[in-house]
Symmetry: C2
Subunit: 176 residues, 2 copies
């Protein structure tokens, strides 16, 4: 594949999210602008208790304007490792501490600068009430691995957003 | 979970992508603005030939500024069904026609208006050269199901972006 030649870029929107407009010369000579969402690296934490329960959260989300189900997720702070970010976000959002946290893999995105890091947290124990950010209103709940596997491919569900992280965790744990 | 009360919203950026700023009153009384990416519904097509090969594409992507690997994907046109969009995008991008196309499930997104529809295309046959959009520069390639399963959880790969669609297709086909 030929790389594209970037002619210029500028920040077109600078809010909580950013839009970067990048102008490229394509391999066949066309010149075109692309709107890119500027987003930092983040972790998605597939977390399991020592009783093989899956730790999930429910939150109202402003994109679809409905309650979605997810693993704990959060941006990685400057200088923080994915493992440390995962431990911090899991504890803040759910009150669970993981005995083991491991990075599984990462994934880039077509029209965003983001990198998603898939993390696996095992032997998690509830240690304290969640301490979410001021703007987070999070409900924590548990599913058995069997219930969770069914949720992953439930055609009636469009609210669980971390399907990739779920399958990658079950694959790593040998539970597929 | 309590729903949030939307106080107002406005279009803050209106390019190829859109940013919508939504102001909510949260359950505990705080008022806050959220930047939402405005994006239409799209299909991701996990496509297989009659010889159990997986049909994949490589393209330079302006978000990470590198070549990423994906299934065929594309926006659903106004009034088009997900099945019709999947057949159209698969043929345009890869030159393959599917004998069977089925919807597997959909997924919403936290900070975008989009809906991703996971589609399964089976018994695909190569019928004509790809006819990509003017700004697409796409390379088509095939993997065996075994190679594809390994790619899904390969920790050294961050370029394949449709991990959820891949596992959902293998789950549906009974190949996990």
């Amino acid at each position: 594949m030929k790389q594209w030649t970037k002619l210029k870029e500028h920040l077109a929107y600078d809010g909580w999210r950013k839009i970067i407009v990048r102008r490229y010369e394509l391999p066949h000579g066309q010149v075109a602008d692309f709107d890119i969402v500027g987003n930092g690296p983040y972790v998605t934490i597939a977390a399991f208790t020592s009783e093989k329960e899956v730790i999930l959260t429910r939150q109202f989300r402003a994109g679809p304007e409905q309650v979605l189900t997810s693993f704990s997720e959060g941006f990685i702070d400057q200088g923080e490792s994915p493992e440390a970010a995962a431990a911090r976000e899991l504890l803040e959002e759910t009150g669970y501490r993981a005995e083991n946290i491991q990075w599984l893999k990462s994934r880039r995105s077509s029209y965003s600068t983001e990198t998603q890091h898939f993390m696996l947290a095992t032997n998690c124990h509830y240690v304290q009430p969640p301490e979410p950010d001021a703007l987070e209103d999070i409900e924590v709940f548990l599913l058995s691995v069997e219930q969770f596997r069914a949720l992953l491919h439930d055609s009636k569900d469009e609210a669980f957003i971390n399907i990739a992280a779920g399958y990658l965790a079950l694959e790593k744990l040998g539970w597929l």
